[in-house]
């Protein structure tokens, strides 16, 4: 036990000495949480709108003004040539083209309905989808300034939306907890892998190997410091998120810390496993990146896991970061209690056992 204490003490001494390490541990969670939460935003404002109004009636003018009043659109150009407008769309000067046919008002009055043409630039599918969504909503809600003919009164069920747990659909509320989970996972995996490989690269492992330090002592001495740091980083990140974004903390904080302590060993173990196959820090870095890119892009932070193809969802059960992001949102936004996250916790715990088992198995203290 005393030996582990000395090893951990040495590790912290080195972390404190390292000019890069401490700023990385302190600033990275805060910085990334702030930056990504602002930048990784699905809300798009000021979409560029091209308008071709062939009707020039009160009704058509009102429809156009509905677009500008929505706050999502900005009229970039207005003309009468469909070909020119299409050209603008093709050249990326506009994102969406609204074409109002001649006789728009007349049709509305006579038939009770009329059609407009919406064309979106779908180079960026997300943007196009959002633009279409916003535009569709505006057109649907449009009430012409002229009385509709008798018998064509709009009928049907009106849909009223309400977003639970994030009532104003605030993307920051949605993103911050997830990003925090992802960042903590990423950093501790990297730090562990690089730290162990560094001992090998610099040659200090040779000197350690001739001491009576046991395999398990060496391993614990490496993993414990970063385990403790994961809690520390979580605290720093949560504080920053709460201070800056006022992210809701609906659930119990102790649950967050308990989960972090259970989850961290999977990433520590992964870093440890990677270090066993790397000769240099460079190799470890690339290997860790390979996994991390996949983990991050598929963890549900940027695209919902549920909308992935079945095989990807199945593959994603192996993605530890997915569980962390899921957990953070459940507890922080939804206020989930222990019972709701038990399944997740157990999975992550089992994952930690398997990964660390593999890592210990592949680790050879003696050549």
């Amino acid at each position: 036990m005393r030996t582990i204490l000395f090893l951990v003490q040495k590790e912290f001494l080195q972390i404190r000495r390292n000019k890069m390490m401490l700023p990385m541990i302190l600033i990275m969670p805060v910085f990334q949480t702030l930056l990504l939460s602002f930048a990784a935003n699905y809300e798009i404002k000021n979409l560029h709108l091209g308008v071709v109004d062939n009707d020039l009636s009160p009704a058509s003018r009102q429809l156009v003004s509905k677009f500008t009043a929505s706050g999502y659109f900005q009229i970039k150009d207005a003309g009468f040539s469909t070909a020119e407008a299409a050209e603008d769309l093709a050249r990326d000067r506009t994102d969406l083209l609204l074409e109002i046919p001649a006789n728009f008002e007349r049709d509305l009055v006579r038939e009770g309905h009329a059609s407009v043409n919406l064309t979106a630039n779908a180079i960026n599918a997300t943007k196009a989808g959002l633009a279409m969504g916003y535009a569709g909503g505006i057109v649907r809600d449009f009430t012409p300034p002229v009385p509709a003919p008798a018998g064509s009164r709009r009928q049907g069920v009106e849909v009223v939306y309400s977003n639970w747990y994030n009532p104003r659909l605030d993307y920051k509320t949605f993103m911050v907890p997830g990003i925090l989970g992802e960042i903590v996972a990423l950093i501790i995996c990297f730090l562990t892998a690089l730290n162990i490989v560094r001992e090998r690269e610099i040659g200090t492992i040779e000197q350690l190997n001739v001491t009576p330090i046991h395999k398990w002592q060496f391993i614990l001495g490496k993993l414990l410091p970063f385990w403790i740091l994961s809690l520390f980083m979580m605290t720093v990140g949560l504080t920053a998120g709460w201070l800056v974004f006022r992210i809701p903390i609906e659930g119990d904080l102790w649950l967050v810390f308990l989960y972090t302590l259970t989850f961290a060993p999977t990433m520590l173990g992964l870093g440890f496993l990677i270090s066993n196959f790397a000769e240099s820090q460079q190799q470890a870095m690339f290997t860790a990146w390979f996994f991390m890119i996949i983990f991050i892009l598929m963890c549900g932070l940027f695209t919902p896991v549920e909308s992935m193809p079945q095989w990807a969802q199945w593959l994603n059960t192996l993605n530890p970061v997915k569980y962390f992001v899921e957990f953070m949102r459940l507890v922080l936004l939804k206020g989930a209690g222990f019972a709701e996250i038990r399944q997740n916790l157990m999975t992550v715990f089992a994952y930690a056992v398997v990964v660390n088992g593999l890592a210990v198995w592949t680790y050879r203290k003696r050549a």
Binding site: R2, G203, Q207, N209, A367
Partner: protein, 302 residues
């Protein structure tokens, strides 16, 4: 009493046979030198003895223990200093020493007497990071760290490499003083002058031991006359001497050329006459005692 013995120790890395049937025996409390060029297999032998590498065949005993079976026990009795500086560069002198003492369950105070002479030299830099020390200081710190748990056997892999001649001399003085504690020292070096400072040496080349004896006896066993020859044009001198009938070999040795003779009838005057005939100027020829290096070259040639 033997402190280190190896019996038919062999190790191969793929096609390369690094050690071939190594048999040696190091007595308790002696400084035993392993002399050989880079790639001779010195480090491989050290790593096997230090429990870091498994031999392909053969066996070894260090401090009465088997490096393969009893590696855990052996590690507490062993001090190993790898050829490459392998202490924590980002920790200070004091922190390194404290760390290695503590993982051996010891403390600096406990064995201070053993390292005192070496430690006082690096003590002024106790709060300096190990990475910022000079080559000689690093070596002294590494020696302190290898000694801090009072080992019975000290394995020093090329401690002289990358160290200036004065520090090297100091280092060897310390090793000789360590003998009073009864510590057995196995040291490897590519420097022939360091060989003279050992009690006994083994010459090693391509994984094979050429000879084992005291440095004096190795030198005395040199089988033929040896002359030191100097002239103005050294390059041409060596070429001409190699063509001398009865010469066994000729090679540059510091400022002069060493000429080894197969034909013992050839005298100083014969060599001088031969060189003057070939228009060499400022010719000096004198008999010279063989050094370890001469012996090594002799072994390589035959």
């Amino acid at each position: 009493m033997s402190s280190i013995t190896t019996t038919n120790l062999s190790k191969a890395y793929g096609e390369v046979q690094a050690l071939k049937n190594i048999n040696l025996s190091v007595r308790e409390g002696e400084i035993f030198g392993l002399i050989g060029p880079d790639g001779a297999g010195k480090t491989t032998l050290f790593r096997i003895l230090a429990t870091l590498l498994l031999p392909d065949s053969g066996s070894a005993r260090v401090a009465g223990l088997d490096p393969v079976g009893d590696y855990k026990k052996l590690r507490t009795k062993l001090g190993y200093m790898p050829g490459r500086f392998s202490l924590y560069q980002d920790l200070t002198v004091r922190e390194n020493l404290e760390f290695f003492a503590s993982v051996f369950g010891s403390s600096i105070e406990e064995n201070y007497e053993l390292i005192r002479e070496i430690y006082v030299q690096i003590e002024p830099f106790r709060d300096r990071r190990a990475g910022a020390l000079s080559g000689g200081m690093k070596q002294k710190l590494a020696l302190c760290c290898a000694l801090i748990h009072k080992p019975e056997v000290l394995l020093l892999d090329e401690p002289g490499t990358g160290v200036d001649p004065v520090s090297r001399q100091e280092f060897w003085d310390m090793l000789r003083r360590l003998r009073q504690w009864g510590i057995t020292i196995l040291v490897s070096t590519p420097y022939m002058d360091e060989a003279e400072l050992c009690d006994r040496i083994a010459l090693i080349q391509q994984g094979e031991i050429l000879t084992i004896d005291t440095p004096e006896k190795v030198r005395a066993a040199y089988p033929r006359p040896l002359f030191a020859v100097r002239a103005d044009d050294m390059y041409r001198l060596i070429r001409d001497l190699r063509e001398l009938p009865g010469a066994a070999g000729c090679y540059a040795f510091g400022e002069s050329a060493h000429l080894s003779l197969r034909d013992t009838a050839i005298g100083l005057d014969d060599v001088r006459r031969y060189l003057i005939e070939r228009r060499h100027e400022a010719v000096e020829v004198s008999p010279t005692p063989a050094t370890i290096e001469d012996c090594f070259i002799e072994f390589l040639n035959h």
